[in-house]
Symmetry: C2
Subunit: 465 residues, 2 copies
């Protein structure tokens, strides 16, 4: 893709996902078509979260005193917090922060809720809007000032090991989620200087955009007992002693939808994974004067049968040329199109076109066509997944020499390099290359690419959003 | 109910709907059980809205210049707007309002979206959090500073008459919605001094709480072309001329859930209409040592059969006394409880207890019990509806003399009085009685209760939240 940035901007506009002309920079309007995709994406995420978390909803605003309690945390966010200072004509007694994330809103309540070990574990999540005063160049869904769709989870446990296990559970949920959207990912143990403010350690999911930049699409943090101590969250253990519990938090945002669009889309427009396509099958009746009634009634019949089987299906009976219809539904990324014309009617068949491959197949209407269509949808999902993973894998490049990092990465690749694990050396690598270390992929022998001491880790390095 | 206010406060806490201990007054936390009720309420509302509206999502913040454009509108809200003045450490160039409602966020975009008559009508809605800096005494779900669940609709039409029709469509949707929740309502044409700031006229839905105060639970407004003129929204008509379109807006909030809880609840706790009960049927196995396995397996069998039929059902197999279980599920308002013990197992039957009437019925397991349970749920809904409407109707009282208004109303009634339609006279009635005129119920002959001129309307007068 020659100009990914321009393509991404255009597709959001043409497929009517987002209107970025709202009169505040970095804050955008979800249009009906975009909103529907968002809805199905959230539905899948909620289904996975609900297996082992309770959904709750906390207030938007956080008192300054609460936000400021955890020193490292507030330092990480103080440059990006929007402050509410007035109610009506009056100045408020205390400034209120619009949540940049909800740790400091939720944890004071945890201190009230948690009394005993029988109250643990707690596993909750919420989907909310949050705000960050971004000073960098904003871009819809990727770098925004209002994150409209932040799904954040917060858990509390008796033991540190249970928090470790929960981090792995969070990672497992997100893997299932991204797999269902056919989005490829690398999981990185973020370097210490890039972990969540206040966290013990941070794992992040990164994916690769078509312009060779990586996009962080989810993070999972072990908070240890840092916040518990700050917010005085304590539980009575079985032996009667009072202890600080251990916490995790993990979250993802609108960027999931950005990557969904960016990774699968092509020059014709969106290509939606069937699970989140608001319409999975579009029926286009090819109408001629004398046969029109018969064809429309057959189209309705097919639609009814498919809807009964749970497909999301629609008929495009607008009075315009079929070519214009094809154009629209390709742009909108509908996974399957069914054409049915006078000749098909005679032969009792229909033509099925796949959005992902543009291939056409005849399908007899006397066969069990819902199960045939269902297997097409399954194939589309696995084809999208294979293609996307292949693209990402082909753009991961092992690099043995510092000199070659910048060129390889700027050529659209994620670099894999050996690193000693020393923070100063890591920051030096970033400075020398003007790139970002994503974190540890795995541990290994060899020499550090920079300081030549014994390497402990293989780390990814990339140009990031 | 002796002390409705205390009862309402307690039930929110005991049934774990809302935690009101959040450290900002008037901003509350939705707990898991409350959130689930909210989810099913929203699901029904969205189902109705989606029939003829597109769901969208607008930003939280509104530039001061946009909010201030419509003079009457801003005057109505300026005392209650929260203002964002700083991003990080910097003062913003322009103050940003947290939306008190979204007209001034949405309508500048309408000006971009609407070009021609073929772009009309537009019918959109969104469910968002909004803020109002309430100076009055706050109360969870009823009078809050963060309205967490504001579902607002906005429509645009070519003709004034179409906007009138849309007002009626909005009213029709809300009627269906409240009927499905068994919430009774009166629809009032609000007096001119109490209409939505900027509206031509306002219809409101009011319901009656058990302490005799009315609660406004929905409003529907005809905005005429006032906002179109302010925001320069124009369309090209078929004759080529450029015209201002006509608009409506309508919305409802968390108060729907407040009235759901307050109207149906009793001394034992919540009583939930089956449509929005997160669990509709709770199975309580009465376990004795030797038969426990058989009973639990029968309970699972019943659960599976019911789930296949679409019921939301659960088994309470906690190791505690049945009495404690009954207490919990009554408190949580589960519509139906199934008890099954060793003797029932022998007789191949179960005992069904209704939450609304506390009546118990035997039901043979060899019968088609899912359809029997389904008819119980239907009966519960109509019983709740009948009871609630009866209560409200019994507390509407025709009043012929000014002297008797205050006493009748403060006795827990909505007063129906004759009114000439003159604004000054209406305000005088409010002042004399210290009550609120809800608006016109219907038109009639007779004399005004206050000024004795010819009455035009029968209006409701009440003590309101």
């Amino acid at each position: 893709m020659k100009n990914f940035s321009q393509w991404f901007h255009n597709i959001l506009e043409e497929a009517e996902i987002i209107d970025s002309r709202y009169p505040i920079k970095g804050m955008n309007v979800w249009l009906p078509k975009g909103f529907k995709i968002r809805k199905y994406v959230l539905r899948e995420l909620e289904r996975l979260m609900d297996e082992d978390h309770d959904e709750i909803l906390f207030p938007l605003l956080i008192p300054e005193t609460e936000l400021a309690k955890e020193g490292i945390h507030v330092k990480g966010f103080e440059e990006e917090v929007y402050w509410v200072t007035h109610g009506g004509m009056r100045e408020l007694n205390e400034k209120l922060a619009i949540r940049p994330t909800s740790e400091t809103a939720i944890y004071p309540m945890f201190a009230l809720w948690i009394r005993s070990h029988i109250d643990l574990p707690i596993k909750i999540y919420q989907t909310v809007n949050t705000m960050r005063y971004e000073t960098k160049h904003t871009r819809p869904l990727i770098r925004v000032r209002e994150i409209t769709t932040f799904t954040e989870s917060h858990t509390v446990h008796e033991k540190y090991d249970e928090a470790n296990d929960q981090v792995q559970e969070g990672i497992a949920i997100y893997k299932r989620f991204f797999d269902s959207l056919a989005i490829p990912y690398l999981i990185h143990d973020r370097p210490s200087w890039d972990k969540f403010p206040g966290a013990d350690y941070t794992f992040a999911f990164d994916t690769l955009m078509k312009d060779g930049k990586t996009l962080q699409i989810a993070t999972v943090h072990n908070l240890s007992d840092t916040f518990a101590k700050t917010f005085d969250i304590k539980y009575e253990a079985t032996d009667g002693s009072h202890k600080y519990p251990y916490q995790t938090c993990y979250g993802l945002s609108d960027r999931v939808i950005a990557s969904l669009i960016a990774i699968h889309g092509d020059e014709k427009g969106l290509v939606l994974p069937p699970l989140v396509a608001p319409i999975q099958i579009m029926i286009v009746p090819i109408v001629f004067k004398d046969k029109s009634e018969e064809i429309l009634s057959k189209a309705s019949e097919i639609k009814n049968i498919l809807e009964k089987d749970g497909f999301r299906v629609n008929i495009d009976n607008r009075d315009i040329r079929p070519g214009k219809k094809y154009y629209d539904w390709e742009l909108n990324g509908i996974p399957l199109r069914i054409d049915i014309g006078p000749r098909d009617l005679k032969d009792n068949k229909m033509i099925i076109t796949r959005r992902d491959t543009s291939t056409k197949e005849e399908c007899s209407l006397s066969e069990d066509f819902p199960s045939i269509l269902n297997s097409y949808l399954t194939e589309i999902n696995s084809n999208l997944k294979d293609k996307a993973w292949k693209f990402m894998r082909e753009h991961i490049s092992k690099i043995d020499s510092l000199d070659r990092i910048e060129k390889t990465v700027l050529n659209g690749n994620i670099g894999l390099i050996k690193w000693c694990g020393n923070d100063d050396c890591g920051k030096e690598i970033e400075e020398k290359t003007n790139l970002t270390i994503l974190g540890i992929q795995y541990r290994i022998d060899g020499d550090c690419i920079n300081c030549k001491r014994k390497a402990k880790h293989v780390i990814s390095i990339a140009k990031t959003y």
